[in-house]
């Protein structure tokens, strides 16, 4: 029902099949159970917010969705087809891009080099076929793109090691935004960001959704989530605790669902299947 609130996604995707669906995911680390039988579905052009306390298993879940971790059990489907992500490349090949909480930037490389890491632009002709990079073009494109994000990058030639936390975060988000075709997953993208940059990330998420690309975003900020999300999934102690619609749920109800203070408020979990 909350899907009806969003504009119908453009692009090639059929709106009825979920972009990604995860069913019955469980994961243990040694004696720590991080996830127990968690399911999640994301429709095309839908923005799903993942909330939950520290250690609830959010990062673990999205690492599984993005191929960085293998689940102990459970099933993943992309556009209805069952998939096994052996590594993040598989997920990327399926059009899924991820911004990890522990940023996956190469500290010694510049911002453009990081933006294009793994998908470098090469020169035209023979040189390009030999693997020669077109650094000029990458830098220009990176500048253009980061400008549209409103990001201030102090130096396009300096290694990102020199950047502030926020600046590094911007680079990581920009990278996912450029490359996603089906789904962008973001683990606390705004944790280190200022108000302006947070607003810009919200805009980016909305623009991404409008391009028909789905978004899964983890955040601890209720105002931010209420602003961007079509649906809120709350994890508690490694299990799905509630699925909420921001349009029909109050701030306090959301907080209650996360903290587990009240159990009456969350909407019916069955609703999570659109």
């Amino acid at each position: 029902m909350h899907l009806s609130n969003t504009t119908p996604p453009p692009g090639p995707s059929s709106p009825d099949v979920p972009v990604l669906s995860a069913t019955g995911i469980s994961k243990r680390f040694g004696h720590v159970t991080a996830l127990t039988d968690v399911s999640l579905e994301v429709a095309p052009g839908e923005v799903v917010a993942l909330m939950g306390d520290n250690g609830a298993g959010k990062s673990t879940l999205i690492k599984i969705l993005s191929g960085a971790l293998a689940p102990d059990s459970g099933e993943l489907r992309v556009r209805g087809e069952q998939v096994h992500f052996a590594n993040p490349s598989d997920a990327r090949a399926a059009g899924i891009e991820t911004v990890y909480q522990d940023l996956a930037l190469a500290d010694d490389l510049s911002a453009p080099a990081n933006l294009f890491l793994g998908r470098e632009r090469r020169k035209l002709g023979l040189l390009g076929r030999l693997g020669v990079l077109d650094n000029k073009r990458m830098q220009t494109e990176a500048e253009d793109y980061l400008r549209t994000l409103g990001a201030r990058v102090p130096d396009y030639q300096a290694p990102v090691r020199m950047f502030s936390g926020g600046q590094r975060q911007t680079v990581a988000i920009a990278r996912a935004g450029i490359w996603a075709r089906e789904l962008v997953i973001m683990d606390e993208p705004t944790a280190a960001l200022g108000l302006v940059q947070t607003e810009q990330v919200a805009q980016l998420i909305k623009r991404t959704r409008d391009r028909g690309i789905a978004v899964v975003v983890i955040s601890h900020s209720v105002p931010f989530v209420t602003d961007v999300a079509d649906r809120i999934v709350v994890l508690r102690l490694g299990a799905t605790a509630a699925t909420l619609s921001p349009a029909t749920t109050s701030h306090d109800e959301i907080v209650a669902a996360i903290t587990g203070a009240a159990t009456g408020t969350p909407t019916d979990p069955q609703e999570s299947t659109p």
Partner: protein, 351 residues
């Protein structure tokens, strides 16, 4: 822990339409590269002290000739270190490859009495064998490091012993001799445009390796993996495969250095390469790389090879007492790198 070369950051746009600008920028980079300047200062100082005795084409040719093998090893080591790995086994791989290559050449080239009738084919085959055998050892190193997930320091310390021991088993501890003299005249000491062929080979390898590292996707991935292997993996880079390739390259270069050595001396040198690993690593680090990966250049590495090479030569020529030479080389090493670092920090502050 800081890079010594003010070469632009990896990923920065260094190409430009204006050639003059590029030349000027290159000159600026060189003159602000203090390890390189230290090398220049050494050359000038020896020239002032010894005049034409030091400063002559013959002498420079000799210095380059004797450095050519180390260049090959240091180039491979630079890739590995930048990619976050170490290879201690290079001396053993060199010896093992040269033993197999030499045995092959001796077997194929025909009898000495008849003037080694098949020398040409045998030498070509020998070079191919050396490259292949070296690459195979490198592949083994790479596979062990990436599969067993134990530090390359341990793996290559292990293969160091295995390679050397097997080479001794094969040769029963003596060197392989009886190689055709065509190896020396045709390769090992062949003069091409005024320089020995091994110098050209080392220069070509260094230039290509430098361009590949600075300009291509392969080089970019090397830096990325050394900088943050998990991040590179998440970016879709095939980290394991890349690391295996780096080790294999290293092995092939050690094989090449080994067969060029045979071509120069017409004998293997089973016991003469135990310090090769430290010499190569030192060159890379003097040249500004970080032992922790992600930083370094081939140009810096070449400078790092040349500083000890010039010192070894110049100190003999200006007749410094032998034991003081050892002291001087150690001290100058520290001073060169220290000056580079201090100047770099000053520049940073002033800019």
């Amino acid at each position: 822990m800081t890079p010594h070369l003010p070469i632009p950051t990896v990923g920065a746009d260094v190409s430009g339409p204006d050639t003059m600008k590029r030349v000027r920028r290159a000159a600026a980079a060189l003159t602000s590269n203090w390890v390189f300047l230290a090398l220049v200062v050494l050359v000038v100082a020896f020239s002032l002290q010894a005049g034409g005795t030091f400063l002559n084409a013959d002498n420079f040719r000799n210095i380059l000739f004797n450095a050519s093998g180390t260049i090959l090893l240091a180039v491979g080591t630079a890739y590995l270190i930048i990619g976050g790995q170490l290879d201690l086994s290079i001396g053993s791989v060199l010896v093992f490859s040269q033993v197999i290559a030499a045995k092959t050449i001796v077997a194929v080239s025909g009898s000495a009495e008849s003037g080694y009738p098949n020398a040409g084919a045998a030498i070509t085959l020998g070079i191919a064998v050396a490259l292949a055998v070296g690459a195979a050892w490198g592949l083994l190193n790479g596979v062990l490091v990436t599969r067993l997930k134990i530090p390359s320091f341990i793996i290559t310390l292990g293969t160091l012993g295995m390679g050397l021991g097997l080479a001794q088993v094969i040769t029963k501890g003596t060197d392989v001799t009886g190689l055709p003299p065509q190896m020396v005249t045709g390769i090992g000491m062949r003069q091409v445009l005024g320089l020995p062929l091994p110098v050209w080979i080392a220069a070509a390898v260094a230039v290509v390796a430098g361009l590949v590292l600075a300009r291509t996707q392969f080089g970019r991935y090397t830096y990325a993996i050394g900088s943050n292997a998990e991040g590179a993996r998440r970016s879709g880079i095939k980290v394991t495969r890349h690391q295996v390739v780096l080790f294999t390259m290293m092995g092939a270069l050690a094989g090449l250095a080994g067969v060029l050595d045979v071509a120069r001396y017409t004998t293997t040198q089973v016991s003469g390469h135990s310090a090769d690993n430290l010499v190569a690593i030192a060159a890379v680090i003097i040249g500004g790389a970080s032992l922790f990966g992600g930083r370094g250049t081939i140009f810096g590495t070449a400078v790092g090879v040349m500083i000890p090479a010039v010192l070894n030569n110049g100190l003999v020529i200006v007749n410094v007492q032998p034991f003081w030479q050892t002291v001087a080389i150690g001290a100058i090493l520290i001073v060169a790198v220290a000056v580079d670092d201090i100047k770099r920090r000053q520049q940073l502050r002033a800019s």
